[in-house]
Amino acid sequence: MKTYLDHRVLLPWLALSFCFCLAFCSVPQLSAQDKSPEFPKGFTGYLYLQQGLVSNFQQDSPRHYQVGLSARPEFTLVPRRLRLGLQAQVLNAKNTWQYQFGPTASLRLADWKAGVFGTAANVQLTAGHLWGSYGQRLIGGGLQAEFFQAVALSLSAYRDYGQQQWWLQTSIGVNLLLKKRAESTDPFD
């Protein structure tokens, strides 16, 4: 069971880590820009499907699978740079349903440019503090790639400093607050 969990959780986590490293190191278009269209004014509202593991990674200590849903509304406090918000997640870990809640922040690190057309994605550093229904106090963060301002892939690591546990997660999210297609976009209006 432990090996099965390790593969199911660690492989996606490592794969995403590899992708982020590759993006940072090998894509020349990936650069911070002053007039980026990423992190526009307004709200985002991501709903994530996430999975991961919970462990203190001590020898012979159990590694528990976690899976759940997470909602993360954020407001762009500093356009093109910083979003602040809240995160609420419902998850099953250690065969128990539980919830966690707390503030979050996202700092835009770089953009993935799409030639002369603009951008395709951005990479951001995320951070947060969560309180859990079983007395957890988690602090941590991770990296998130946001594509089309509509879909996000993220990996995160949180430390439960009360119960001395690590929570590792990979997530895929959809922005439910993506603005709807306008019927008319008159540039003179």
Binding site: G118, F148, K180, A182, T185, D186, P187, F188
Partner: protein
């Protein structure tokens, strides 16, 4: 009937070349007045100011404008999902409103000089020319008279807004039936035919592409690069077609004139010749050969794909090229050439 026409093609930032050409023209012939000015895309942006002979403002605009003054870039995927164009063209619309004011429009229509903008209607696929004054029918195109300053500004924008890249424009806001217009360059690179149909005898055409297609020795492996290259090929082909038909028309008229001379030399009377050559429905009846002056760069101008890159330094170079190209053209004219000489 118009006798002298100025036709300015599309090309985004490459319009700086046209401004350089016009600067040279008006320096040499300050008294020169075009009876009709036809603009497509960036040519439509230039046409009203060229008609007003406001060269200092044109030069300023085409040497200082940056991408941020023209369009707002966004996230491509987000625009694809939620908008009707890759870019937001509101900065260009604001620039049009800033310079093409109500009083500018009133001044424009108070003059006899006609100004037309080439557009294409998305609903009907028709080439539509929006004009400041009533004009004669145009072959294979519709004409619309601009009714007020708002429609004038919208017509300029419609001609300048490249579809996919920028939003289609309702020239008549909330019209029934709905009509959205885009860059006339989709069908006509330069409105030469309109000038011919208005009876122009001297047509001054400024093109922004070289006569020799630019050869790019590279492998195209990215979809965006292939898309942009395809657009360049498409625009080049539209430009070739625009000039081929008037050229063939001119050649046919020259041929008929030679036939007429040969018949006269063979002893036929003018009456007999007219009887033989004036066939009912002939497109050549009552037409004279048109003198078309084509000014175009001798190589690529830059400005990125579709002229979508507005780099002031590069545009200054384009303007200088236009100036020198015009000087070279004038130097090559025969001594008895009335126009521009």
């Amino acid at each position: 009937m118009a006798t002298t026409a100025l036709v300015i093609s599309g090309g985004g930032s490459k319009g700086a070349f046209a401004v350089g050409v016009l600067k040279s023209v008006f320096q040499r012939r300050p008294d020169l007045q075009f009876d009709i000015v036809v603009g497509t895309s960036t040519g439509a942006l230039i046409a009203p100011l060229a008609s007003a002979e406001n060269m200092p403002l044109l030069e300023q605009l085409y040497t200082t404008t940056t991408n941020e003054d023209v369009l707002i870039k966004g996230n491509v995927g987000q625009r694809f999902l939620t908008a009707d164009s890759i870019f937001d063209g509101s900065p260009l619309a604001a620039t049009i409103s800033r310079y093409y004011t109500d009083s500018f429009y009133e001044n424009l229509i108070s003059q006899e000089r006609k100004v037309c903008f080439a557009t294409v209607c998305l609903q009907t696929k028709a080439s539509v020319y929006f004009c400041s004054h009533p004009i004669l029918p145009v072959t294979d195109a519709e004409t619309e008279l601009v009714q007020n300053a708002d429609q004038f500004r919208r017509a300029v924008a419609a001609s300048a807004f490249q579809p996919i890249f920028m939003s289609p424009i309702e020239v008549v806001k909330n019209s029934v039936p709905l009509r959205q217009y885009v860059d006339g360059g989709v069908r006509e690179y330069a409105g030469v035919q309109l000038a011919i149909d208005q009876g122009a005898e001297e047509i001054f055409v400024i093109l922004h592409s070289s006569a020799v297609p630019e050869v790019v020795e590279k492998r195209y492996s990215k979809m965006t690069e292939i898309l942009m290259r395809t657009l360049e090929i498409f625009i080049y082909d539209v430009g070739v077609n625009d000039l081929t038909v008037p050229g063939m028309f001119n050649n046919a008229l020259a041929y008929l004139q030679q036939v007429r001379l040969n018949m006269r030399a063979a002893g036929m009377s003018e009456g007999q010749i007219d009887e033989l050559l004036q066939v009912p429905g002939s497109p050549y009846s009552n037409r004279r050969k048109v003198n078309i002056h084509i000014i175009r760069p001798d190589g690529p101008l830059g400005g990125g794909p579709g002229g979508l890159v507005f780099d002031p330094e590069e545009m200054k170079g384009m303007l200088a090229k236009g100036n020198s190209e015009m000087d070279r053209y004038i130097a090559g004219l025969p001594p008895n050439s009335g126009f521009l000489a």
